[in-house]
């Protein structure tokens, strides 16, 4: 499957510009810790650069890059485990100050739940769920990036979704007891929470 984006990405640099956000976000959601994110991104694009001429357009550029980033994410997490770093569901600092406090709170809370729930999945479930449900990749492309057949991809995704729902439910329970402010949060409570974390 050839994506339209190849035509716009004649060089590794254009590929960087087009796909950097996806790579950054996905690595984060696949469990690369915030402080290793720069290095992991750099690794993905170094591999991309090194293999650029090998890209044969059999798959879409996005799928090809995803294949690289899945391996890089695994490598980084393996290294992190070796160093006894633990999965920490840190919530990214939000930059979009133009959004309303309610929206910021909502996004922040959703992101927190998302990361906690993703952290409960096993690696295989998480990989396919992030690709299909978060990055909106087709299951066909996800299967290709993962190097698995389509049936395996579907059953893995089904299991992943079940685990994800379950993890979300338990994460939400914690939320309602500990994090939910009594009423809609104003800027003040948001600031307090930001500082507290």
């Amino acid at each position: 499957m050839v994506d339209a984006d190849e035509e716009a990405c004649a060089t590794p640099e254009q590929a960087f510009e087009r796909h950097f956000a996806m790579v950054w976000r996905s690595l984060r959601r696949l469990g690369v810790s915030a402080n290793a994110l720069d290095d992991a991104c750099q690794d993905v694009f170094l591999v991309l650069h090194r293999r650029w001429l090998d890209f044969e357009h059999q798959s879409s550029l996005k799928t090809w890059i995803y294949g690289i980033l899945l391996r890089v994410a695994s490598d980084h997490k393996r290294r992190a485990r070796r160093e006894r770093e633990r999965w920490s569901p840190e919530v990214a600092e939000l930059e979009s100050t133009s959004d309303s406090p309610d929206r910021i709170y909502q996004q922040r809370e959703a992101s927190r739940l998302l990361h906690i729930a993703l952290g409960q999945l096993d690696d295989k479930e998480r990989q396919i769920l992030v690709m299909v449900d978060l990055e909106e990749t087709s299951v066909v492309d996800a299967a290709e990036a993962l190097g698995i057949n389509l049936n395996t991809a579907y059953s893995r995704l089904r299991r992943g979704r079940q685990s994800f729902e379950k993890a979300l439910r338990s994460a939400s329970l914690v939320k309602s007891e500990e994090f939910m402010p009594p009423q809609g949060p104003g800027p003040t409570s948001l600031t307090t929470e930001t500082n507290g974390e």
Binding site: T11, W24, D43, F45, R71, D75, R161
Partner: protein
Amino acid sequence: MVNERLDTELSATARQIIADARGADDPTAEDEARVKARWLAGIAAGAGVSSLTEAVRAAAGSGWGLKVAAMVAAAAAASVGVYLGWPENKPAAPTAVAVQAPVAAPPVAPPAEPVAAVAEAAALVPAQAPELPSATEEEANAAPPEPAALAATPPATAPALVPSSTPPRAAPSSVRARTAAERSRALPVGGEPAAPAPALSGGQPIGGQLGEEIALLSQIRGTLQDGAPARALEQLGEYRRRFERPNLAMEADALRVDALCRAGQREAAQAAAAAFVNDWPGSPLQQRVSAACP
């Protein structure tokens, strides 16, 4: 989404959470500029080519010339905040930049300068030994080699970065000029260190900090190449003090190993090299650092 054939769809609640979290993990423009600068520095370092200009020249014969040249220009822009050819939705203001530059500098940097500037960033760690790209070991094994020209063995000392135009040591001033100018770009965040040079004072968004870091590290590399490792170590201390939250700490740590070794503090250098391996697992500079003080 093409999720036909699935008997388990996500619940509405789960989908809502995913939708609400959209954007929460996205990088900022600053993240992108920083990673891009480091990526291009890594390309130069990892390919065992000690200057990007050399890479461009070497690659010209293999059809890589244009690609690499384009990347170099863009990286220079990214690393010093000029954002040549940056997409228009980025918060860059290349024209306003020149107006606010407090130091005499060409309003629009000629192509050679960005190249020199990024080559500075790329060559922050003096080349000591040729090395293999090291980003991902598995990938390295799986991947066919680079175009041969890119794997050329680097000379032991830094070559002229841009032949007949800008020598390496001339770059910091232009970097600094643009660094100061870069402040016109409003980027949020950050405890900012005090800036000693008048040209560097003023409101400092984090984007300006990256430029300053590059300038200082370039200076340190120059100091090292001038054979003054003790002075370089002082400057590295200054770097640490000035930048509470450095973007290029890894590059600074690598320079420190080299400086210690050249200063004759071999044990300290080896300890620092060991610490580097711990602190920066998987760093593209790792092989270079390990080889810095054999």
